[in-house]
Amino acid sequence: MTTRQVGEPVQRREDPRLLTGNGRYLDDLGLGALQAAFVRSPHAHARVVDIDITDAWELDGVEAIYTWEDLDGRVGEPLPVLIPHPALTHPRTGYCLAKSEVNHVGEAVVMVVARDRYVAEDACGRIHVTYETLKPVVGLENARAATRLVHDDAPGNVAANLLQEVGDVDSAMAAAPNTLTLELEIERSACMPMEGKGVYARWDADDASLRIYSSTQTSTGVRAAVAAKLEMPLAKVEVVTPDVGGGFGVKIMHPWPEEVLVPWAARRLGRDVKWTEDRREHFVSSAHERGQLQEVTVGFDDDGRLLALDVRFWHDNGAYTPYGIIVPIITATQLLGPYKPGAYRVEFWSLYTNTVLVTPYRGAGRPQGCYAMERTMDAIAAHLGLDRTEVRSRNFIQPDEMPYDQGLMFQDGRPLKYDSGDFPASLAKLKDLVGWDDFAAYREQAAREGRRVGLGIGCYVEGTGVGPYEGGHVQVETSGRVNVATGLTTQGQGHQTVLAQIVADQLGVRLEDVHVTTGDTRRMAYAVGTFASRGAVMSGNAVALAAKVVRDKALRIAADALEVSADDLEIVDGVISVKGAPGTSIDLKTIAVMSNPLRYAFDTAAQAATQFAGTFDPDKPPVADDDEPGLEGQDFYSPTQATFANGMHAAVVETDPVTAEIRILRYCVIHDCGVMVNPMIVEGQVHGGVAQGVGGALYERMVYDEGGQLLNASFMDFLVPYASEVPHVETDHLETPSPLNPLGLKGAGEAGTIPVTAVIASAVEDAEGFPIRSMPISPAELWELRRQHSSVPVALEGAS
């Protein structure tokens, strides 16, 4: 029997190519294509009065200059609201090029197409746009105060207001022996993939068709959006996603204006056109996330059990709402984590500001929700003088209560119902791993050395693998090569390895014979995309189902050929044989030959399937009525609901008594994503997630001034952590399989990021002895907090 691939830390099949400079990212394509660049608004809020392009035309190499006036048909209409929601009462989207008003610095106003990017940028510099500036709305406080409006017809700057309630919160709160209210703040950050966005389009005039390459998380989404905007038949638009240098959410937003404009210009000019985003453009014209103000009121008994939880928060959605209100909906629902809240009411307002739009960033609203809940748990523990893990433990949903319905509607419009998980077991593992019960002694020892340390904890549940569906297609060539296609994209998660592992097991072939294609609408036209930790759950199960279709067909043909029952056959390493009688066998590749009756023998293998070869029944058609030629099959996986992964993190931090510098000494993760297809890749996802979380907790924030200028729009100023800032992550896993899908999988992509801000806040609070209510926290801010709390004793007794 061959080694089972699922569960093995198989080395990635994509690596040798990427390691040797043979990767093909967006900007590596289209040598010789015309290049686009954009004039972007320098103002956060202004009316466009006049655009003078005369000087720009004087430059040698400029091929086209477009303003909104040039945009014809639907290209000139506002961009779509991708995910409408009844609570999104005032959706607003921008135009591909600003029509008469700009609503954030960086909004595209003019497009230039030129011989090369240098010339295109020169031309942009020679375009004179006259603006009438308006006072901008910057920051949530100003948006909420609404003394000025971002959009004149969106009163109170409110894009959406949504309330959900389970139980009677007012009565439960009134009856609670203890109540606390916390005012919390969490800042804006951004995905910042190392490769920015990019689009390359080729117009084929002879075929009246477009091929678009985009650095996207959804090729089918871009295809449909571009076809709609350019008013083309879907059949005439292909989207191919090449290697993608990271996404983390920002590339699920679509269509970006450039994804419409570049193909549009390519068609109009009859030339290949490409646009590659530069880093500054990415800062000011792609999306951000995270910014929220939160107010939590909690009622609890003297043992720390939740009786009522009342949450209100204000979410900064930036200038437009093209991706709807997915992010605040996730915050509102995923906030509950592994806990039973008693009665729960949550209400949010999603507010417009004159800043870059906000769409999902790894974790997508969950880091904020986890932060609110875990800050609350710590506050209850401090109030009652209880151990923080004890308070959490008393509120856990127990394993025998699974599946557990929280009574809320999740982001996919379906019930928030946890499928499985063992939270007490996870907590026990975490306490062991970090040495929770020994920390008091360590703290005392550190104090004797003049060092200040703290221990923090954070727990989360993550809805992963949301629908509606993904597909898989599996085809066996007569050479034995197995081609697998799925429509979702990949941006570093190792799909080519993980999906190959699944197919190798399901079909019974060698891993090296399996070749996976992702994100190419020519190979799989039906797909959703790569986001919400759904790749392995959705496409993993889809390719498994498709492999089963192929396997069943192969066994049926082999059973006929070998004159045995299909039930008696097995496939191992690409050979079909009678169980227990390995002498009687036939290669899978031979079945591929037999599956396709041929007229022409194009090679020696094909000779066996031609009309004068072999035996056949002249009374039956070569392809039976209920059959198709070829050894291939397709199937789709569409679940009734999301599957819920979970985990718990703990960190030990040291804060410098003088400089207030915060150093993470240890970082521990217990992670449960159900069955792990490739533990090495799951570990990698956790490491990367934690690194992004550390950035969010300590370094990353979007600093806007009151005029709406982003003051830190470069890697010099927006601090993405280097190796020197990211701790070594210690991990342990629990595998509670999902009962919802045949493979037992849950998603793993975002888990690492979700609780980090909450964990670091908890640890710093534990080290310092005063509440931490605003994150991220810099040394300067910690120093200021120390000054404000200078009357509070340094060590908080019983805090851990």
Partner: protein, 170 residues
Amino acid sequence: MTDAATEQLLEITLRVNGVRRTASAPARRLLSDFLRHDLGLTGTHVGCEHGVCGACTVLLDGEPARACLVFAVTAQAHEVTTVEGIGHDPANLSPVQQAFAECHALQCGFCTPGFITTITAYLDENPQPTPEEAREAISGNLCRCTGYQNIVKAVVRASEIVREREEETR
């Protein structure tokens, strides 16, 4: 037409990965763009264009340099090594490349060529780094995917592979 409207092109000759390469480009062409778009060596990636991320790191006369901070014309007559020069055959990986594959030290792979060039040069200088030294050696390159600890592991593993290969050929 104004003066700025036409741009003078220069013939720029470099030795790239041991081969003499010539192309015409304006004086302001960045080395990163010259390698990628004029010479077609797209293994060198551009992540920030302001010298912070390290994705475009190449070796200039053997020393790591940010190709986005160097004008191609100033690299004239110098020796440039890109990731392709360290190993361009997926079936024949260099020690550092092999260590990256073994240790899962890459995810999206975009920043990876910059790490490969940086670490290759570093191991020449310090053939047996400790994990702490390895971490310091890579702390000028940004990676958004891996969390770095597998890259640290790969640096140490690469130094072992170098020795293993030396012993095999002895």
